[in-house]
Every structure is written in C-alpha cells, then in structure tokens.
Symmetry: C2
C-alpha cells in the first residue's frame, strides 16, 4: 500500500526516491553496464552517447526493468536484468537522438541537445549505433521471447514516430489518434521495460501481464503530464522551456481539448498558431488563457490520473512490500511532479 498521506494527515509530495533507494545497487550496475557497452574505438560514439546518457535523465525505463524483476523475485546474484535495463535505456536514448533531430530541438533537460552540439548527422548515426548495440545486448541475454517483446516495442516506437510526423500540425487530430501516438511513442517502451523484468524472472503468467499493464498505463500518464506541463509547468523544474510544444505546433491533448471545446474564433486561433505556425509573441499567453477557460490542461491531468489509477491497480496481485509501495509512489510522482 503506497500511502501519500503522512501520519499528521498532511499530504506528502510523492517522489521517486524510495524506488531509487531500493534499486540503488542495481542502478549503479546499470550505469556501469551503460558505460561499458557504449565503448567504441570511434571516440565520437562514447563522447556523444555519454552526453546524452549522463544528461541527468531519471532513467525511468531501466528502473522499471530492474524493479519489475526484483518484484518478481529475480535472484540478486544474476545479471541478465542489468543487461535488459541497459538495453531499454539504449533504445530510449536512440529515439531521443533521432527525435531531437526531427524536432530540431536545441535543449533537452536544460542542456544543449546532441544535435545542437555535434550536428544532425552525428546524432542520426550514433542513434543508429545505440539501437543496434541494444539489439546486440538483447541477443546476449539469449531469450527469444524477450527479444520478441523488445523488437516489437522498438518497431512500434518507430511506427509511432512516423504517425506523429504525419499527423503533425493537423489541428483536427482526434484524441484517439493522439492516444495511439503516445502509446506507441512512449508507453509501449515503458510497458516492455516492465514486462521484460517479469520475463527475465521467469514469471510469464499473470505477473507479466500485470507489469506490462502497469508500464503501459504509467507511460500514458507520464506523457499526458509531460504534455500538460508544457503549458502549465515551471521552467526551472522542467529543464525545458514552457511552450516548446506550442512553438513547434505539436498536437497534444491540451491543444486538442481547447480546439474541440472552443468556438469559431478560438478555432481560427489554433489553426493559425498550430497548423500554420504563424505565431506572434503574445500567442502563447493567449493559448494558455484559452486552455484555462476550457480546463484543457486540468482535464489532461485528469486523464493522466485515470491511467495512473489503472497502473496502481495492475500491481494489486503482488503482495505488500516496500518495493511495491515505491512503485505505487512512482505513479503518483509521474502525475504530481512539478505541480
């Protein structure tokens, strides 16, 4: 039972710390494995990859893998879960590198993106390298069923990226399509990260299904909150600038809801700013004002809470433990962060 109510009845701010503390040994091993596996005689590869991997990300995906494996009783002296965790981080890093090229991003987590430092070419090619290195790692682990899960997840991510590119700046994108995109782009890898943790521990029945569902719902909630925070968060805490999505004309749920709920004048505004990318300095403030009026950001958080609730319930079949509590708190953190 993860409770976010402290003894004094005062609401405690949920955090990732308990999960990170319980998985500290494993995550230190993941760090070492990451450094070992990005070695290459071609110096640019570790240099660029290190920039990305050490950029202060939360390493949520590998954390899910090792936590899921431990929750399923994976033995402490084995290390296949470490390699799988490294593998999901590499897949994630590869997609980040390519994403930043495609989105022409200059900042990620408050630091210059790899493409802004080394150029697009290097980012594309080192991304490819990390992708293929991830597959080498999976093959090392030697389990075909796990390879199947991770290769299908990678393929889904790539398909989702193309889908997002195609639907980009189409203001009439339905919420269902947006959900498909974030499931494919973000949640699928969360799901696979947790699922392979169960698999490597030999729990291929209900626990595997439960952890996949946990990861999927957590991933959806996580992305919804990310998209909400782009209009509502505080810059310093986010490590990215507010309004990035707006300036890039990204179709996220806050925009979709504000468009659907707005009248003709509002819709003209969204068409001009998001679809035609014809923006004036005051437009971001107006966008936030329209979202406020229609509770578009608030309801995006509300949707996130729905998926968060499903993630929490997915863990119901596991017995009480500090690790389970920490995973439940991680769900709350995903939703409440930077609030």
């Amino acid at each position: 039972m993860a409770t976010v109510v402290s003894l004094e009845g005062k609401r405690k701010v949920p955090g990732l710390e308990p999960l990170l503390a319980l998985c500290a040994d494993d995550m230190a091993r993941v760090d070492r494995e990451i450094l070992a596996r990005m070695r290459s005689p071609v110096a640019l590869i570790p240099e660029l990859a290190q920039h990305l991997v050490s950029a202060g990300g939360k390493r949520l995906r590998p954390l899910l893998t090792v936590a899921a494996a431990r929750l399923c009783g994976y033995p402490a002296d084995d290390d296949r879960h470490i390699r799988l965790a490294t593998c999901v981080e590499f897949i994630h890093s590869a997609t980040l590198l390519h994403d930043d090229v495609v989105d022409v991003s200059v900042l990620r987590r408050g630091k210059p993106t790899a493409n802004s430092v080394w150029g697009d070419k290097a980012s594309v090619l080192v991304g490819d390298f990390l992708f293929t290195r991830a597959f080498e790692l999976m093959v090392d682990v030697g389990a075909l069923d796990i390879l199947g899960v991770l290769s299908r997840a990678s393929s889904t991510i790539a398909e989702g990226e193309v889908l997002q590119l195609v639907t980009q700046r189409d203001i009439s994108t339905p919420e269902a399509t947006y959900l498909e995109v974030i499931k494919a782009k973000t949640a699928r890898l969360f799901a696979a990260s947790a699922e392979v943790g169960a698999m490597v521990a030999g729990r291929n029945g209900a626990e595997r299904v439960a952890l996949e569902s946990f990861g999927m719902n957590l991933g959806i909630a996580f992305q919804l909150v990310d998209d909400a925070l782009d209009y509502a968060g505080r810059e310093a805490q986010l490590g990215k600038s507010i309004g990035d999505d707006f300036r890039e004309g990204k179709i996220t749920l806050p925009v979709i809801l504000a468009f659907l709920r707005g009248g003709a004048v509002d819709r003209e505004f969204w068409k001009r700013t998001i679809q035609a990318l014809d923006q004036q300095p005051a437009d971001l403030a107006r966008a936030q004002c329209l979202m406020e009026r229609h509770n578009a950001v608030g309801d995006t958080f509300e949707r996130a809470r729905h998926y968060g609730a499903m993630a929490r319930d997915a863990l119901g079949l596991f017995g009480d433990s500090a690790l389970k509590d920490a995973l439940l708190e991680a769900v709350d953190f995903a939703i409440d962060r930077a609030h």
Copy 2:
C-alpha cells in the same frame, strides 16, 4: 569452374543474370515478403519504403542469402531463408535512408532520394522503422546464433558510418582506415548476408566460414569498384552522377592514392578541393587527370581484383554446380560492371 571465356575464346562480359535466374523463385518470394513486411497503417511507411525498395536496386544482399542457403542444400519447401533475405534488405534499406540524409544526397540509382521527396525527418524515422522491422523478422526466424551475426553486423555498420563521418574530408586518411570504413559500412553486411544463408541451412562449420569470407571479400571488391567508378564510370550506366564523391569531399581510395603519390602541388590541390571543399568547375577534370597520372583509379580496380580473387577462392570447398558458377561470375560482375 566459372569461366568468363566463351567457347570462341572471346571474353564474355560477366553478369548477374545466371545467379538471378537460378534464384528467381526465391527472389520472387523475397519480393512478396518485403511488400508484406513493410505494411503499416501509417501510409507514409509503405509509400516511402516502396520508393526505396522498388528503386531498381540489384538486391545483392538478399540474393547472397538465398544463394548461400541453396549452395548449402537448404530445403526448397522451407522459408526461413526468405525471411532472413528480407531482413538483410531492410537493414540495407534503413542504412541507405540514413546515409542519404547524412550525405544530403538527391539522387540514388538515377531516381530522387527519399529525403529529397519526403524530407529528412521522414527518412530518419522510416529508416528506424525498417531497422526495427528487420529485427522483428530475425526474432521470427528464431535462431539466436543468426540474431547474433546480424545484430553485430548492424552495430558494425552503424559504427562504420560514424567512423566515416569523423574521418570525412581528412585528406591524410590512411588506406588502412579507408579499408576499415568500407569493411564496416559495406562488406560486413555482405559477409553476414552470405553467412546466415549457411547458418539457416545448418552448415555451421567450414561452409559458414567460407561463405562469410566470400561475402566479406565480395563486399570490399564491390565498394572499391563503386569508389573507382565515381571517377571513371559512365553516368548513364551508374545511375548516379560522376564526381559525386569528389563534390562531397569523400575520402575514397582513388583520392588517397592520388594524394599519397602526388607531389606538393598535387597535395595542395587535394587539400583545397577535398578537405576545404573549395572547388572550381574544372577541378573534377583535373582530379581525374591527376588520378590518371598516378594510376589511382586503375590501382583501385587492381585492389578490387585482389579481394575478388579471395572471394572466388573462398568457394573452393564447394563442389561444382551451376549455382557455384553463378556466384563466381557475380564476383567478376562486381569488378567488371560498367567498365
């Protein structure tokens, strides 16, 4: 014995036709598998992939896979070699898509490149999709040892691409480094394509080693000839313009040899044109003239013949057959094409 001397003693022009004819059924199945596997609800994916796959490439890599499998007695009614052949074509296609983005290429085999039609973003993402789809296919085939070979080959290609990017326009690149790059970028996938053909047929001993060596040496020869033809070929036959590599400042063996063999004035010319990319209209003709003087193109062909000879000898342990003759003729074709 593949003879390239016809009965009248007149030199016959070697071709790929005998190999294509012997593998026609398999290659038709590969075509169908390619189309089936690039299906996606995201229309841009099959559209862009089809543009590339149907661009009239020779499909040398999948041809190597099915031919190697058949040479090793792979049963006619099985189809894992078809999936592996599709897989190597997808890996190759993915790298082409990313290569053309990195090289800012507008033409490939005489047709507009995907990036010039759909843009860099689509090419990067559909390339990722093909990569991941290739891994899904491998997992389908279900052999971990084959997965190991293909994932290591993919990783080597990616590493080679980065190495090429780093050494790009460094006029003092040694021949050894150039060889490393073309082994990694081109020959490794040729080698893996042939090797997995032996593996899927269950020939993991000398035949596997022989076919890997055949593919590796054929791949090196193939790339050397490609690089020579960029200064010596005829535009219509190549389907690409003469001098592309020169205009891009690519360090290929003809340039390396001309630089090493030239005096101070020559070296200034190569530094200006290739390293600083400061080119005048007449510079390509002068480059060709300097290469002629030092026999740089001729000796690049000579190097290719050396690797071709090794490729031919690698097949020595296989008994005589029409298929073996056709593979030997393919080596001659790789060297003599467009001459």
